[in-house]
């Protein structure tokens, strides 16, 4: 299985190098904004850095999808199932690579947020808490998407991903139409509220804490269940691949 991981890292090295450049670019931009926030009271670096972290996670999602689609071939699937590793080894290596990718991006976000705090002189700006939340959200997302990708192929996996995102946008749209918008006074005030949850400046209600904690645990459990489902579906799914 170690060999399968090394193989995939070598084959997708271009994507990994591009993601690394993306991390460096986000780091440089973040340090830039943090530095200029010292002299400008109006410039809140969190408002700019958080969306950059979101972009990094989106990039990590794209790279981790490539790990699955790269071997979408009947010949490869038949070969790997015939080896001692079998379908389980193939699926396990992909799931591990996906979660390693998320760990790597999250660690990069932690390092970047720490250096930004050092530059701006702020103590515990709460940016990292947001990154940890994004980690679990993406894990939950992948748990739902990956069995479809394994069984039906990458096209269906992308359709499922799009469907989930459309559903989320619909929920957000409904909230924007009918919900409490007092925290959305401005982008800066919304960011202050969001990061305040992790620094303790915003009073997080008990239900918020319980929901966040249970969601994080559910994401971990669902990822493992998703892996077990994908192991069972891999052989049958290979017959659905185009070539």
């Amino acid at each position: 299985m170690f060999g399968l991981i090394i193989k995939q890292l070598r084959l997708q090295r271009i994507h990994i190098i591009l993601l690394s450049f993306g991390i460096v670019a986000v780091a440089v931009l973040s340090f830039f904004f943090s530095y200029f926030s010292i002299s400008s009271e109006e410039l809140d670096p969190n408002s700019t850095i958080l969306p950059l972290f979101l972009l990094l996670y989106i990039s990590a999602d794209a790279v981790s999808t490539v790990f699955f689609t790269a071997d979408e071939s009947k010949k490869w699937a038949s070969f790997i199932i015939s080896t001692p590793l079998g379908a389980r080894g193939q699926v396990k290596s992909r799931y591990l690579l996906t979660i390693f990718m998320l760990f790597a991006v999250n660690t990069a976000c932690f390092v970047i947020s720490s250096i930004c705090d050092i530059i701006s002189g702020e103590i515990g700006s709460g940016i990292f808490g947001f990154s940890a939340l994004a980690f679990y959200f993406l894990l939950l997302f992948k748990s739902i998407e990956l069995p479809f990708t394994v069984y039906f192929g990458s096209k269906m996996g992308n359709n499922v991903k799009t469907g989930i995102l459309m559903g989320l946008f619909f929920i957000i749209g409904v909230y924007l139409l009918f919900g409490d918008l007092s925290i959305f006074g401005s982008w800066d005030s919304f960011m202050k509220w969001l990061t305040g949850i992790f620094t303790g400046d915003t009073k997080a209600t008990e239900s918020m804490i319980i929901t966040m904690t249970l969601s994080q645990l559910a994401a971990l459990a669902l990822y493992y269940i998703s892996y077990r489902i994908s192991c069972k579906l891999y052989a049958k799914g290979a017959m659905n691949y185009e070539y």
Binding site: K92, L96, T107, T213, Q216, L220
Partner: protein
């Protein structure tokens, strides 16, 4: 001494030099940058300290890689597997549950010893026990996302140092020696206030001694779960749980501020010794299980 043992000792010396050097060099430089000890009250929450802690914890892993490259050792048996089969799954679960259990026992002991004579409503926040488990779990899940830092330590100490020492000496001796080396690695941090602060007799030597003691005790359990799973990942999870959900954090989640200050202000040496009691029991059980396993393996080969 035969050639193989000489080679192992040479590798260990190189590993220790590579693991210790960054801590010894970086700690005084960073203290100069922040303008005081890194773990003083004002600097403990500084982003410099957090960043340094993250990077510092990765030095044993880097030392592992570099030693293997320098001595042309290769990557045989790297202790990187992730398998729940053949009974290994329960050790992954124990790696989180055991530290939580001994931290809870430590917390109870701290309340019983340092706050005896106080009523429960003077110590605990009302209704805090409902939300406290979720706060602790949230702490764990947040720290799980930076597991790389704990993996960085474990890959060095349990993934390289421990197996090498086991080849030179008996298992108990290897655990004690490994724990002392691990504790001494923390010495530059202990000198700038890590874990014990500054207000104790014989600072920092008593702190370094206590750190070595706690590392020896922890090493027993961490070595057990590493050997039973053939992986340092359970040890990383256990280390993460120990740091994220320790007794003081559990108490902070449920106690009133004034009551917590009484415990926080207690003698750090006495506080540490109380904390180590359940940890010591865990270590003894782990050592017995390790020795039993070794005996069974020896009987099988005969």
């Amino acid at each position: 001494m035969n050639t193989e043992k000489k080679l192992i000792i040479k590798r260990l010396v190189i590993f220790c030099a590579l693991a210790f050097a960054p801590m010894i060099i970086a700690t005084p430089i960073l203290c100069k940058i922040v303008g005081g000890p890194l773990f003083s009250e004002e600097n403990a929450v500084s982003p410099v300290t957090a960043f340094y802690a993250m990077l510092g914890m990765c030095t044993p892993m880097l030392a592992n890689f570099l030693t293997r490259i320098i001595t042309k050792e290769g990557l045989d048996d790297p202790y990187l597997s992730l398998s729940f089969r053949n009974g290994k799954g329960k050790y992954y679960l124990l790696s989180v549950l055991v530290p939580l259990a001994y931290s809870l026992v430590s917390a109870v002991l701290m309340v019983l010893i340092f706050l005896r004579g106080y009523a429960a409503d003077e110590i605990f926040e009302p209704d805090s026990f409902v939300i406290a488990p979720f706060l602790i779990i949230s702490q764990l899940t947040s720290n799980l996302t930076v597991l790389i830092a704990y993996f960085g330590e474990e890959y060095g100490w349990r993934g390289y140092l421990g197996p090498k020492l086991s080849q030179l000496m008996s298992e108990p001796a290897a655990i004690v020696t490994g724990g002392i080396i691990w504790g001494l690695w923390h010495a530059p941090l202990t000198c700038v206030g890590h874990n014990f602060g500054f207000d104790y007799p014989l600072f920092p030597f008593l702190g370094i001694l206590l750190m070595c003691l706690s590392c020896v005790i922890m090493n027993a359990f961490l070595t057990l779960i590493t050997k039973r799973t053939g992986s340092v990942i359970p040890a990383s999870l256990a280390h993460m749980t120990h740091n994220s959900a320790g007794a003081s954090i559990m108490l902070a989640a449920v106690m009133k501020e004034d009551a917590y200050k009484l415990i926080d202000g207690a003698d750090p040496v006495l506080l540490s010794l109380v904390l180590y009691i359940p940890l010591f029991v865990t270590a003894v059980i782990s050592m017995i299980l390790l020795m039993n396993n070794k005996k069974k393996q020896a009987e099988k080969t005969v």
